[in-house]
C-alpha cells in the first residue's frame, strides 16, 4: 500500500513537471529553440502570481486570469524583440542569448523580491484532500494533474485542429515556403512563445502554491521539464505527459528509499532511459 501510495503521489507530482515541460516541448516543436531561461520564466510566473495575490488580494487560482495573459504578452514581446534575432543555422546564439536572459531574470527577481523564500497562500485548498480506495489524495495535486492533462489536450487540439496549429506545423516544416504562403514566421514564432509562456504561467502559479520558491530555483525547474520532454520523446505532447509522470514517480520512489535521494533518483531514471532509448519512449521527430 505504501508503494502504491508513492506511485500515485508521484503521478500527481508528475503533473507539475508536465506543466514545466509543455512550453519547452511546444517551442522546440515549432522553432527548434531550446530556451535555457525557461525555468526562470516559470519562476517569473510564480512571482507575478505573488504580486497579483498580495496587491489585488485575489486567490492564486483567480490570479491566473491576469498572469496567463501577462506572460503571453511577455512571450510575444520577448520573441519578436529578442529571440527572433537569434534564429538560424548556428546553435550558439539562441543558446547563449537565452543563457544570458536566464542570468538577467534571476538577478532581476533577486533585486525586486530579495532572496527570501516566498509562497502563495491558497487557503483551504492547500490542505484539502479526498480519500479514494484507502489512499489520501491532496486536492491541489489532483487539480495540478488535471491542469496538466487539460494543457496537453489543449495544445494537441491547437496543433492539429486549428488554423494556428496548421501554421505552427507549416513554419516548423519549411520556414521559407511558409513565408511564401503569407505566413510571417516572426509573428508565428511570437505566437508560439506567447502560448508557451501562457502555459508557463500556469506552471509557475501551481508551483508557487505547492512549495516555497526563490529566484534561484529556475535552473532546477528547467531540468525537470527538459527531462520530461526527453523521456517522453521529442515533439510528442502526449509523450511529454508520460515523461512527466515517469519523472514524478521515480522521484517519489527514490524519496521513499531515502529522502535525500528524491531528486537524484529522478535524474538517474532520466539517464537510464537516455541510455536505453536515446530518442525517448515515444519519439516523433529526431533530436
Amino acid at each position: 500500500m505504501d508503494w502504491l501510495n508513492a506511485i500515485v503521489q508521484g503521478t500527481l507530482l508528475g503533473g507539475l513537471y508536465v506543466l514545466f515541460a509543455a512550453g519547452l516541448s511546444l517551442i522546440f516543436g515549432v522553432m527548434r529553440l531550446v530556451n535555457i531561461a525557461h525555468g526562470d520564466l516559470i519562476v517569473l510566473g510564480a512571482y507575478l502570481g505573488l504580486t497579483v495575490t498580495t496587491t489585488v488580494g485575489l486567490h492564486p487560482l483567480a490570479a491566473l486570469v491576469i498572469v496567463v495573459p501577462a506572460m503571453g504578452l511577455i512571450g510575444y514581446a520577448l520573441q519578436r524583440g529578442l529571440l527572433n534575432q537569434t534564429l538560424g543555422d548556428d546553435l550558439l546564439p539562441p543558446l547563449l542569448v537565452t543563457f544570458g536572459l536566464s542570468v538577467i531574470l534571476q538577478n532581476g527577481l533577486l533585486e525586486l523580491y530579495t532572496a527570501d523564500p516566498q509562497k502563495m497562500d491558497a487557503g483551504a485548498l492547500e490542505t484539502a484532500s479526498v480519500t479514494v480506495g484507502g489512499l489520501t489524495l491532496g486536492v491541489l495535486p489532483l487539480l495540478t494533474f488535471g491542469f496538466a492533462v487539460a494543457v496537453i489536450w489543449g495544445l494537441q487540439w491547437t496543433f492539429y485542429r486549428t488554423g494556428l496549429g496548421r501554421a505552427f506545423r507549416a513554419v516548423s516544416d519549411n520556414q521559407d515556403i511558409a513565408q511564401l504562403m503569407g505566413l510571417n514566421r516572426r509573428h508565428i514564432f511570437g505566437l508560439a512563445m506567447a502560448l508557451a509562456l501562457a502555459v508557463t504561467a500556469i506552471a509557475g502559479i501551481l508551483l508557487g502554491i505547492r512549495t516555497s520558491f526563490d529566484p534561484s530555483i529556475g535552473g532546477g525547474r528547467l531540468i525537470f521539464g527538459f527531462e520530461a520532454v526527453i523521456i517522453g520523446g521529442l515533439g510528442n505532447l502526449w509523450g511529454t505527459l508520460a515523461g512527466g509522470v515517469i519523472l514524478g514517480v521515480a522521484q517519489t520512489l527514490g524519496a521513499k528509499i531515502d529522502p535525500g535521494w528524491q531528486i537524484l533518483s529522478g535524474h538517474l531514471a532520466f539517464l537510464i532511459i537516455l541510455a536505453i532509448r536515446p530518442n525517448g519512449l515515444f519519439p516523433r521527430i529526431a533530436a
Partner: protein
C-alpha cells in the same frame, strides 16, 4: 605574377612580436612573488584559473561545437577528489591534482557516451543534469561533510610548504602554470592533425564526415581531454579556497556562467578571445562587483548584445579591423610585392 611567387605561411610579423612580448610578460609574471602584494597575487591566481577554464570551454564550444553548461561537474569533481585523496588517501596535494585529472578523464568517458546522444541545445542541458547528479551525489557522502561540505586540514595545507608566503607563491605559480599549460595545449592541439579535423567539423560537419573524419571520436577526445584538465583546475581552485561544499563546487554561476561570458565577450572560437575576455571580466568585476546583482544583470546584457551584434567578440572586432592573429593557426597566402609596374 606567376603562382610560384605566392607564399603560404603560418607565421606573421604580429605573431612573432606577440611571441616575444608574451615570453617577456611570462617572465614578469613568474617573478610576481617578488613584486606583487598578497592581495594582487591572489587576484592574479584566480584570473589565471578562470583563463584556463575559459580556454577549455572555448575549445569545446568554439571548436568542437560541444556547448556545455555543465562543466561545473568537473570543477567540483576535481575539488572533491583533491579533498578525498589528501584527507583519506594521504596523498601529497600535487599528486592529488594529477590524479584528479586522470580520474576526471575516466569519469568523463561514460558520461560522454551517454550525453552525446543528445544534440545541440539538448546536449547543453544534458551536461547540466550530469553536474546536478554529481552535486547531489557528493552531497550524499557524509565522510566529505555531506551537504555542508568540509575544510582542508591544516596538516595537508602545510605539506605544500611550511611557510605561508611560500604556500601563497606556490599556489600562484600553480595557477600561472595551469593557465600556460592549458593555453599551450589548446594551441598545440589545434595545430595538430586532430585540431585541423576539429576545425573542419566546426566549419561543415557533413563535408568533414564525407572526408572520412570520425566526428564522434574527435568530439569524444575533446570532451575527455577538457574534462580531465577542468578537473585539475577544479582541484587547484579548491586548494586555494581550502574549503569545499556541494553548492560551491558545482555552482553553475561561478564555473559556467562566468566562463561563458568571458568567452563570448572575448571572442568564441579564437585562442586570443578567452585571454581578452578574462581581462575584461576581471576589470568589470573589480569595478562593478559592489553593485551585486546589478553587476550580474549588466554582465548578462553585455553578453546578449555581444552575441547579437558582435558574435565574434572583442577579438573578432580587432581581427576584422587589423587582420591580426597572435596565435598563428590558419595559413595565409601572401601575394608577392609587385616589384615594378609594368
Amino acid at each position: 605574377m606567376s603562382l610560384q611567387d605566392y607564399t603560404v605561411t603560418r607565421s606573421s610579423q604580429a605573431a612573432r612580436v606577440a611571441a616575444v612580448l608574451g615570453a617577456l610578460a611570462l617572465i614578469v609574471l613568474v617573478c610576481a612573488p617578488w613584486w606583487a602584494g598578497r592581495a594582487d597575487m591572489r587576484l592574479m591566481g584566480e584570473l589565471f584559473l578562470y583563463l584556463a577554464l575559459a580556454s577549455l570551454w572555448n575549445l569545446m564550444a568554439g571548436y568542437a561545437g560541444l556547448v556545455s553548461v555543465g562543466q561545473q561537474a568537473f570543477v567540483g569533481f576535481g575539488g572533491y577528489v583533491l579533498f578525498a585523496l589528501t584527507m583519506f588517501g594521504g596523498l601529497h596535494p600535487l599528486a592529488a591534482i594529477g590524479l584528479a585529472g586522470l580520474l576526471g578523464a575516466l569519469v568523463s568517458m561514460p558520461v560522454a557516451v551517454l550525453i552525446f546522444r543528445l544534440r545541440g541545445a539538448y546536449f547543453a542541458i544534458g551536461t547540466w543534469v550530469i553536474a546536478e547528479v554529481f552535486r547531489l551525489g557528493f552531497a550524499q557522502i557524509s565522510a566529505l561533510g555531506g551537504g555542508s561540505g568540509s575544510s582542508l586540514p591544516v596538516a595537508i595545507v602545510k605539506s605544500l610548504a611550511s611557510k605561508r608566503a611560500m604556500r601563497e607563491s606556490i599556489s600562484y605559480w600553480l595557477a600561472l602554470g595551469a593557465a600556460v599549460l592549458v593555453v599551450g595545449c589548446v594551441y598545440l592541439f589545434l595545430r595538430s592533425r586532430k585540431g585541423l579535423a576539429l576545425t573542419a567539423i566546426r566549419d561543415n560537419e557533413l563535408a568533414a564526415a564525407s572526408l572520412g573524419i570520425d566526428i564522434w571520436r574527435a568530439k569524444f577526445t575533446v570532451y575527455v581531454v577538457t574534462s580531465a584538465l577542468t578537473a585539475m583546475i577544479g582541484a587547484l581552485i579548491f586548494l586555494q579556497k581550502l574549503r569545499i561544499s556541494p553548492d560551491a563546487a558545482f555552482s553553475v554561476n561561478d564555473w559556467t556562467a562566468f566562463v561563458i561570458f568571458i568567452v563570448v565577450i572575448g571572442g568564441i572560437g579564437t585562442i586570443e578571445g578567452p585571454i581578452i575576455g578574462t581581462l575584461v571580466f576581471f576589470a568589470l568585476r573589480e569595478t562593478l562587483a559592489d553593485l551585486g546583482t546589478i553587476y550580474l544583470i549588466v554582465l548578462g546584457l553585455v553578453a546578449i548584445v555581444m552575441m547579437l551584434r558582435a558574435p565574434k567578440g572583442i577579438w573578432g572586432l580587432v581581427r576584422s579591423r587589423f587582420d591580426l592573429q597572435l596565435f598563428p593557426l590558419g595559413y595565409r597566402v601572401i601575394a608577392p610585392k609587385p616589384e615594378k609596374e609594368a
